[in-house]
Amino acid sequence: MEPRRQIGERVRRNEDARLLTGRALFVDDVRLEGMLHVAFLRSQHAHARLVRVDATAARGRPGVVAVYTAADLGDYWRPGPLLVPPPPIAGLVFNACTQVPLARDKLRHVGEPIAMVVAESRYLAEDALDDITVDAEPLPAVVDLENALREGAPRVHEHLPSNVAAHAIQRKGDYAEAKRRAHRVIQRRFRYDRGASAAIENRAVAAQWDPRAEELTVWDTTQAPIPIRNGLAQLLGLLQSQVRVVAPFVGGGFGPKIMMYYPEEVLVPWATMRLGRPVKWTEDRQENFFATTQERGQIHDAEIAVDRDGKVLGVRDVFLHDTGAYDPYGLTVPINSQCTLLGPYEIPNYESEFTAIFTNKTIVTPVRGAGRQHGVFVIERLLDFAAKELEIDRAEIRRRNLLRRDQFPVNNEILFQDSAPLTYDSGDYEPALDQALELIDYRRFIREEQPRLRAAGRCVGIGIVCYVEGTGIGPYEGARVTVEPGGLVRLATGVGTQGQGHFTSFAQIVAEVLGVDVADVRVITGDTREFAWGTGTFASRGAVVAGSACHAAATRVREKILDLASHELKAPKEDLVLAGGKVQVRGDPARGIALGALALKANPLRGAVRPGTEPGLEATAYFGPDRGSTASGVHAMIVDVDPETAQVEIKRYVVVHDCGRVINPMIVDGQIHGGVAHGIGNAFYEQLVYDEEGQLLNASFMDYLLPTATDVPHVETAHRETPSPLNPIGAKGVGEAGAIPTGALFAQAVEDALGNRNGKLEICEIPLSPNRLFELIEQAR
């Protein structure tokens, strides 16, 4: 039997059967004897002074076990840690103000928790919320980003002189000099507004304290079970080994579940230890709209300097970033915006300045794309406007500015979110552009289709955008691979899964190295008792970083297998083949041993072992890249717009994507489909609408529209593989890619569709909606 290629194959998923039959464990499914249930009383004010909280009546209600306010937390009350310290940017201003477990003297956003009720059932806990009296003096709310900076504006955090959370400038080259040389300088203002991550599973935390074993078990819908364990141990004065955090199946992450030490996440474990009974809290959808982190509010004033041929000489961008009421996640989002603007293009001179602003709105942390959308939107729209002014084709102006294959690695001279210089490891952009143009039949559409359909009165348009995505950042992940005597391979790793197919793609990597069936590699993930070192699933890094750790651990086990098998089979290692779950001497079918049998020999019950050997066929390995790997892609779409109703129908959607070496094309396609759907929602359906008092006006799925099966088109995908030199697999991340360029693409295609009718129409904002697009069409008449 010859070794079989597993990496790169369309392998069906190991985890599906459990999910399809309803057997998979999600946090809200945890049911324990004597379990208590939690409901939170939350702020109804965006901004108010909290004078008094009276929970006497609630405490007296039958079925209520405890009610906690900030005053009841004692020393346990403390602001959360700064999760992501900002990179060392020269001249950086950064004010860290992190969330508190329960509001003590001030309410800073609607939905901020004030009191925690623990009762015999969730129904009773919610009943008791009505018994709590809150005296609060409303304050004017900080909502609009520009107003937030005005002299005399109300302050979200009064110990600071203003609402500035951070200010940073990053530069490459000399923009002012480039501007002087420019043939044209094009300036625009761009707006991007907030959306919800809207995982279909809301957050949940369940916890149980075992007083005999002195062990705390926490089930948490987190993307980072290990850091949660470490943080809880520290907060609760326990050893890390006394705390087990399990992120079982998680029903979609999309970023907000990487936010750590949410109030509920630190309070539920604390309560279970005080009360001696298991405690569970499950967020409801309305709470999710207020209390789960959000993203995307930015305003950019940007300009591009171009020469006569459309070559970009430089870009300057000054933007405001809404960080919400607190900034525990540091500057990841605005730095991603700043870095991703450079895209796949050669931009020799760049100046980017941002101000992050506290507002009385839900906390901002990364949501699928994590600020990259904004950067792509700004550069792509600037290129579109430059193309129009210079009368250059939109695809052509992109081609003229793309980085060439021989320019890699490309050092962009500014710092990325991981504090490393923004360096592109590898890429091959122009062929991807060509492929996308070909797949969507760009030229024929422009020359034939569009004129023909326009003549028939239709408003059809095409868009094409390019983007890069910094993925797979450090610090590190680990994995442990064990061959068991039954022949199954056990793979434990720290990163949890929220649907990305880790049970399969990680298994493929190990299966290829060890020559076993993918179904025989049992992946255990997201349980700190099984693997206790690592950070989490974020920044499109699972396959790159944890996948590489799986590869490294499997490679070490392979060495152990070869070593022992060589001894047992009395054959040199070079003659051994691992395939079909066996080690075989090449060309001699009679001489072989099953991996399970070899595992038994590696862990004998009696007798002597060779000196220097370790028991078992097991190895643990870690992988930490110096820096992230840069994925890239081109999206193209054709739309049909009804100018009377401003409805947009997406006729075709093409994605050419390069995430390096693909581990499982089926899974990669699925990631892209979902990302595009998220991006379409972001572009045309989803917007969190806050009024000037900081009240969220559409906090339900009745009013906040997620795209449905009739809104999302069939996405045609093509893969290109430019391997990353930064990891042994050659992989780059893909989890966020689909969602990143969609807003820019949508704006361009819709503008093109209406171009002959509303020539002055310029779309400089996302999200749109039929209403908003209608207004823009009217304004452009």
């Binding site: 069906r12 039959t21 279909i200 929220q498 699925g670 489909h673 339900s700 799925f701």
Partner: protein, 158 residues
């Protein structure tokens, strides 16, 4: 408390419950059938869809007492416990699920739909799915799974 009698996945069930108890909470908490998921509790996401006398209903929009005297089927009742139901198998083949949280509700929506429409076209499939929210898949491979379940001709790549 109110006494109710119903059948759930073919088994007779008798319980005494509060009239305000949602059917979704009854199935999950009282009966331990946690395959039925709760995503919004206002009838939009469809994750909690179950069959009531063979018709798809949102269990978060019903009180358990309203199921008195009726037959409920949940995702746990879809396969025989050995082999996957053909629709489940098609979802596996076509990668019609990612995080899997919305999946039980989608399966329970599609089962009666496919009984009434054994050979739907893509538009009909998308219409049938339009009351269920999925944030992971972009629906594409769910559509492919349904086509595969119907005629066996389709693949995830169409």
């Amino acid at each position: 408390m109110t006494a109710i009698e119903l059948t759930v996945n073919g088994d007779a069930v008798r319980r005494s419950i509060e009239p305000r108890l949602l059917l979704s909470d009854f199935l999950r908490n009282d009966l331990g059938l946690t395959g039925t998921h709760v995503g919004c509790e206002h009838g939009v996401c469809g994750a909690c869809t179950v069959l009531l006398d063979g018709e798809a209903v949102r269990s978060c929009l019903m009180f358990a007492v309203q199921a008195d005297g009726h037959g409920v089927t949940t995702v746990e009742g879809l396969s025989d416990g050995v082999a996957l139901h053909p629709l489940q198998a098609a979802f596996h083949e076509a990668h019609g699920l990612q995080c899997g949280f919305c999946t039980p509700g989608i399966l329970m929506t599609l089962v009666p739909f496919l009984q009434d429409h054994p050979h739907p076209d893509e538009r009909e499939i998308r219409e049938a799915l339009s009351g269920n929210l999925c944030r992971c898949t972009g629906y594409q491979n769910i559509v492919a799974a349904v086509r595969l379940a119907c005629d066996g001709a389709s693949t995830a790549d169409r």
